[in-house]
Symmetry: C2
Subunit: 347 residues, 2 copies
């Protein structure tokens, strides 16, 4: 680790019900090889390689995912794992990691269930963000919007900052379609990708100002916590008292020091089967197949089977997933409803 | 059996690949409960009930289907089974049955893989056809056309015959869509449903005139055949020499004594998944489900699963079938291509 190292803080939280039935409670989204041969978690770790100037990763996860995390860290003896005693959203998770680092360490907070096609662009943006973080900014990655998406928050770009970024003029909640199209046409807006850089001390200071309850209990949970090999276990009773809140609501939207770097890096949150199909690409007809399948007169069809042969005739823009005792057939447009299906809700 | 009995001759031939993967070589279409709780074969037998004036059935089938036939005859001790040593199409199959009956017996030839919703209408038509058969006519059932179907041959109705039927003016091969619409608009045309009535002797006489090769070898195959309980096994070497041909081509289109009765009886050949869905009906949205399933924003969707749960979102007019190690997803319009799929072709 050098003085200028960036400390990756990898968050392994949610269950990814919108990728059901492939993603299940016992086999959640970050730990599946959804795009390529590595899992999304493994790709996240690999993007923050030590030879690219990153320190060893700190993974924040819950007991439910711990076995997956430790297996997929593949014997990285420098990696550290913070095991949340309960789920209290991202502000608290990041606070735990910040409290385990020196105050002047620059953290790079990365979700573990996104896909980034261009690792070099990610690393360039990370270095720019770290540079701003060292100046005291709390930095969001502003993902170049490739369409009028309504599933993400947006960052409105403000004044340029010496050193390569911008102030954030405004955080915008998920817009409707018309507003998203306005943002795209206007320029100066970017998707909020949930990737952040800041000094550990800066983050904790801002958290103490804007959410003292979270800051105090997180600090106490760490103070009363215990180490167990590479794992750190915060105190459960203290941590349980935290009012869970996202880092966006708790800190980023309140701080006067919000900055952003722009990142055009083939990012996707793999938020549903349609997004996964887009990230995977397709053949000349837009079809993409995993497992045994025969497609006749099909376009933009995604088939994924863990065993049975899937035969599809005459369909466009559909997704067919066969996984164990579940079969999902949905239009691409309907993919956003998958998380609400009975099977996904009652795993 | 009374003098006026009608002898049902039930043909159990084809494999029904267009209903793959539910219908398979080892579990063919006639022996599946596709509409209601009885199989199509069981329904065919039940329609020709003895208390409605029918004699015990004669079933003509091959060795591949024999076990299914005997199981689904459910201990009918009067039923007889003719076991074809090889498949030689319908003219030969019917000849075998005719040769096992008295010359003046009226035969009613019934495919075993069709569905008829209105049994009473079927029986009324059968009695009318038998009445014409006793006058020496070879009688086809003219199914009331409910749409401009292109998958069936048509019968053009000719002059009325004393006793309730018509001469057949012309047999028409499967028409294209435009001609089918003309037929429907013109009236006087009906679908050729493959159901026939004639005296055994009349049929054999006509066969001898128009296809002496089939008639001679069938007669020899029966003469050299052997009985085994309720089964009759024609001689394999004689039967193998027959040039297989359909009864339509071999006899019906050539005889000067072709007649027809009109039958409006909710008939379907269950020729593919679309036809099966139509025969089954649906709920208010046109959906029909067998097995565990959840449908969201779907119309006219047919789901059939032998186990796995099927979740469908946002689709109209599709069929989803899960059967063993095969999953089929097709548009209703694409259903006609199912038989050409690799899975269906290489069972």
């Amino acid at each position: 680790m050098t003085e200028s190292s960036i400390h990756p803080v990898i968050l392994c939280g949610g269950s990814g019900t919108r990728l059901w039935p492939r993603s299940r409670a016992v086999r959640p989204k970050p730990f599946l090889p959804l795009v390529g041969e590595l899992t999304l978690f493994e790709q996240t770790v690999a993007r923050c390689a030590r030879d690219a100037g990153f320190a060893a990763p700190i993974v924040v996860t819950g007991t439910a995912h711990l076995a997956h995390v430790e297996q997929q860290l593949s014997g990285d003896t420098e990696a550290r794992v913070i095991v949340e005693p309960s789920a209290r959203n991202t502000a608290a998770a990041i606070a735990l990691a910040a409290l385990r680092l020196p105050a002047d360490a620059v953290m790079l907070v990365c979700p573990s269930d996104h896909h980034i096609a261009d690792s070099a662009a990610f690393q360039t943006a990370a270095r720019a963000a770290a540079s701003l973080a060292r100046q005291g900014w709390l930095v969001s990655f502003g993902i170049e919007a490739t369409g009028p998406a309504t599933g993400f928050g947006y960052l409105q770009q403000g004044a340029a900052i010496n050193g390569g970024g911008y102030q954030v003029a405004r955080f915008v909640e998920k817009p409707d379609r018309a507003r998203a199209e306005q943002f795209l046409a206007a320029g100066g807006y970017a998707w909020n990708g949930g990737i952040f850089a800041f000094r550990a001390g800066t983050f904790l200071d801002e958290l103490a100002v804007h959410r003292p309850q979270i800051a105090a209990h997180a600090r106490a949970a760490v103070a009363k916590g215990r180490e167990q090999g590479a794992e750190f276990h915060p105190d459960a009773a203290e941590f349980a008292q935290i009012d869970g809140e996202s880092v966006d609501y708790a800190v980023m939207e309140n701080t006067a020091h919000a900055a952003m770097v722009r990142a055009d890096m083939g990012w996707s949150d793999i938020g549903n089967w349609e997004a996964l199909h887009t990230a995977r690409g397709g053949d000349k007809l837009g079809n993409f197949v995993i497992g045994p399948a025969e497609l006749v007169n099909c376009r933009n069809v995604l088939v994924e089977s863990d065993g049975p042969r899937v035969s599809v005739i005459g369909l466009d823009d559909v997704v067919v997933v066969v996984d164990g005792n579940e079969v999902l057939v949905t239009t691409r447009a309907g993919a956003q409803l998958v998380g609400k299906l009975g099977g996904a809700a009652n795993q």
